[in-house]
């Protein structure tokens, strides 16, 4: 028996190797991410088992909940949409070597600005009103990125601190706005609804999925294109990889950093605007359960690649939407979703572990 087992291992390794060899090199880059996800689910299964739930039941409920019917799919993509924006925001700044961890705040101010425009100019044609509100969101988010950029360049303040602090500012300022000056009648901390002319259409009734998902997908393509095919993207990447060489190569690194943070903030702001105009149709305090922070995680899980971000965001959206179904059907607490998310991030952040596992399996995996 033991002898047989021992013979099995090299054969399994060989099969694995053959399997990996057939994967195209572009896809091979995301192998660690896929392994991380599988590991997370395995460890999650142990947690479920130990706490007295059936992993199989829980996971099947999770998956059918997220993808089993039109409603589930709609919810999955609804949840994924804002995370795509915030993940792209993190990614873009990251490519220039900056850690914008303030996407949450940029999303909030963007959402609020969009709500204001949506409320104010009632009667405008939709074709003008919607873009105007979206632009207002992007602009305000961009402004929220511009402030830390200027603080960094003029005063040397680290963007990790300033973007995070500005998130709190955004949280409390928007909170104040919807509790006092712009509070709608009633006991909920929210604004009055936006004008119908500013609404982004829902595309999969009865779910809340809105046209914002199209903007998100366009932004994925645009981000990829900008980074890879334009002078701006080239400069941003050069600054991120080696600012000293970029500088001596004649790239204006201050200008590049400002642009990167402004664009980053604008992306998050646009995401916030999409949520308000498409999903909530008014600014509600606490409408974001932490999309900004999820964005950071999704950017990493997505391998800091725009297309990877899209896939990872759908995964996180599925965890959120499927998790709710799972809780309802199997009484497994929703917290398991947070555990799974945390595990995915943990395993993605531990590439050495995964490289080690791959090497043990005899697979050469060349990557950055």
């Amino acid at each position: 028996m033991a002898e047989e087992m021992r013979q099995l291992i090299p054969r399994a390794k060989q099969m694995l190797r053959g399997f990996f060899a057939r994967i195209p090199s572009e896809l091979r880059k995301i192998i660690p991410q896929i392994i991380a996800i599988i590991l997370a689910f395995l460890v999650g299964a142990i947690v479920l088992q130990v706490t007295g739930y059936s992993p199989l039941e829980a996971y099947s409920a999770l998956i059918t909940g997220a993808f089993g019917d039109v409603f589930g799919i709609g919810q999955t993509f609804t949840q994924a949409t804002p995370i795509i924006f915030t993940a792209l925001a993190f990614l873009f700044a990251f490519k220039s070597g900056l850690f914008n961890i303030g996407a949450e705040g940029q999303l909030l101010v963007g959402g609020f600005a969009a709500a204001l425009v949506g409320i104010s100019f009632a009667g405008l044609p939709t074709l003008i009103h919607v873009p105007m509100a979206l632009l207002a969101g992007a602009f305000t988010g961009g402004l929220w990125g511009f402030i830390p950029a200027i603080l960094k360049i003029k005063l040397g303040a680290h963007e990790v601190i300033t973007t995070m602090m500005l998130s709190y500012v955004a949280f409390y300022v928007t909170g104040y706005m919807v509790n006092y000056p712009y509070k709608a009648p009633g006991w909920v901390s929210q604004t009055v609804p936006i004008a119908p002319s500013a609404e982004l259409p829902r595309i999969l009734q009865p779910t809340q999925l809105s046209a914002s998902i199209f903007i998100a997908v366009i932004l994925v393509v645009l981000t990829y294109y900008t980074l890879q095919k334009t002078t701006l993207g080239y400069e941003v990447r050069a600054i991120g990889l080696n600012p000293a060489a970029a500088e001596s190569g004649g790239i204006n690194i201050k200008r590049g950093m400002i642009l990167a943070l402004v664009i980053s903030g604008a992306m998050a702001g646009l995401g916030g605007a999409g949520e308000i105009l498409g999903v909530h149709r008014r600014f509600i305090e606490g409408f974001s359960p932490g999309y900004g922070w999820d964005g950071l995680a999704v950017a990493l899980v997505g391998g800091l690649n725009p297309v990877g971000v899209l896939i990872a965001a759908v995964l996180f959206g599925a965890l959120r939407s499927g998790g709710m179904v799972m809780t309802r059907v199997t009484r497994v607490p929703l917290d398991i979703v947070s555990i799974l998310q945390a595990l995915v991030i943990l395993f993605v952040a531990a590439p050495m572990l995964i490289k080690y596992l791959l090497r043990k399996g005899g697979i050469k995996w060349s990557s950055s």
Partner: protein, 505 residues
């Protein structure tokens, strides 16, 4: 007589690259044995095997006639093998004596350092070794040459009889190198064996008893130093005749290209690094800046390329005042830059060859369509042309520069900078760390650019290089130009003396 070290049939491969291929090396007792070869020839790998840092794939090692297995540096030290690396491993804030005993300090009752015992022991030891250092000074105040001596003492203190020195002169001035050679001879007299790794022919010839030449992981041969000469060694090392002198075109009409007047600059620590430096560089001229590193050369190059703001003075390119111009503006005006720190300033290692070759031109019409789009067709054609023109060894245009050899990386910089039709080239330590072939190539290109009318400011710590290439030489010492010389009217000795502030010309 048994030999001190005998390595037999040593092979070592890293993945598919064979670094050592059945190498035989015999080093006699009390011999200074040179290990000569280009970068990548396998010298350091072979010595790392002897020092236990790598394990050979096959082959045997004998120390004093006995076969040994060396699987770690501590095993090597036990066998009396010590190695001084290119990068020193001293604790800057500790004194010389403390550094020497570090790791095996005499103690009182295991807990307290016995400082008196340390001083006595080390003093005694230094006297016996004939290596003179002030034991109580903190090491960070010492010059590089003295720090190196401390490293050697440290290794000897651990009981080494066989001393491996890895490219020890690459960081030294001619005077310091002379001091090192004296120390090596003293060690020899005490019956110590020294293995001297180098790619500098002149030195190996001057100091060694016998020389083993490696090329591409194989032994080319072992020769007696007294029976060979520079040309033969160079040929063994490179596999062909090497050009060491350059013929330059004689030009009568030269114009001032760069005019530097009373230039002042502050270094990163806020101290004056350039003190009113004044000089001109003409077209059809290579102006060599000789000096011990850290005398303001870095700041000079940075100020001229726009990376450092001058604290005073004026810089003119032709008739244009560029004192305050940005790096991009200077590139536009025709200044090319080969930076001394090629990994940090010169290249983006995680960019491809192509991406590195267009750095600085990424926003120029040559490589863009519309206003903001990069034109990959043009960039790719350009890359192909440069890769051919400069014979850059790159598998594809998308190969990351990180995965290339040092010489190829420098070629990428040279190709980029020289292809911009510059009026002025600022080349800082352009051949540092390059092998003979790549060095020769870069020097040839510099002369070619000069002959086409380019003004070249050559900043180098390598005196051979300065003397071989320059039309005029200025010596920089403590941020000042202390002398201007013509190479025909001076000697390396004189320049060396000026570089260390020994004499004012």
């Amino acid at each position: 007589m048994t030999s001190a070290v005998e390595m037999k049939g040593i092979s070592k491969a890293f993945y598919d690259v064979v670094a050592n291929d059945k190498i035989d090396l015999v080093v006699d007792k009390a011999e200074i044995h040179g290990l000569l070869g280009e970068n990548g020839a396998g010298k350091t790998v072979l010595m790392s095997i002897l020092y236990g840092l790598y394990r050979p794939d096959e082959g045997q090692i004998f120390i004093n006639g006995k076969e040994v297995k060396i699987d770690s540096p501590s095993a090597a030290i036990k066998l009396g093998v010590g190695m001084v690396h290119q990068h020193f491993m001293l604790v800057p804030s500790l004194t010389v004596a403390e550094n020497i005993v570090l790791g095996r300090e005499p103690t009182k009752g295991k807990l307290l350092l016995d400082m008196k015992q340390i001083m006595n022991e080390v003093k005694d030891f230094c006297e016996r070794s004939n290596l003179d250092v002030d034991l109580k000074t903190p090491t960070y105040t010492l010059s590089v040459g003295v720090q190196q001596r401390v490293e050697i003492l440290k290794v000897l203190y651990r009981g080494a009889d066989i001393l491996v020195l890895d490219e020890p002169t690459s960081v030294l001035t001619p005077q310091e190198a002379e001091g090192l050679f004296k120390a090596m001879r003293a060690l020899k007299e005490q019956a110590k064996t020294v293995i001297f790794i180098s790619h500098k022919l002149r030195e190996v010839l001057a100091i060694c008893d016998r020389i083993t030449v490696l090329r591409r992981g194989k032994v080319v041969g072992t020769v007696q130093a007294c029976e060979t000469d520079l040309d033969e060694l160079a040929k063994m090392m490179v596999g062909r005749q090497v050009v060491s002198t350059f013929k330059k075109k004689q030009v009568e009409k030269k114009e001032v290209v760069l005019k530097v007047e009373n230039l002042k600059a502050i270094n990163d620590r806020g101290l004056p690094a350039l003190k009113e430096v004044t000089f001109d560089v003409f077209s059809f001229e290579i102006l060599g800046v000789a000096g011990v590193e850290g005398n303001g050369q870095t700041e000079l190059a940075e100020t001229l390329t726009g990376l450092r703001k001058p604290a005073g003075g004026k810089v003119l390119l032709g008739n244009v005042d560029i004192t305050r111009a940005s790096p991009a503006e200077r590139i536009g005006l025709g200044i090319s830059n080969v930076p001394e720190d090629r990994h940090n300033r010169g290249l983006i290692l995680d960019f491809s060859v192509m991406e590195n070759l267009i750095l600085g031109s990424q926003d120029k019409p040559e490589f863009t369509t519309g206003r903001a789009r990069l034109d990959f067709k043009k960039a790719s054609d350009y890359t192909e042309k440069l890769v051919t023109d400069f014979s850059i060894k790159a598998p594809t245009k998308d190969t990351l520069v990180r995965n290339m050899s040092g010489g190829t990386q420098q070629k990428v910089i040279v190709a980029r900078e020289f292809s911009r039709k510059p009026k002025l080239i600022i080349a800082s330590q352009p051949t540092r760390g390059l092998d003979v072939g790549a060095t020769e190539y870069v020097r040839k290109k510099l002369v070619e650019m000069r002959d086409q009318g380019c003004a070249i400011l050559l900043i180098s710590a390598d005196l051979d290089e300065i003397c071989a290439l320059s039309d005029r030489i200025v010596v920089i010492y403590e941020g000042k130009i202390v002398a201007t010389k013509c190479p025909e009217e001076t000697s390396e000795q004189e320049i060396g003396l000026l570089m260390t502030g020994g004499k004012h010309g």
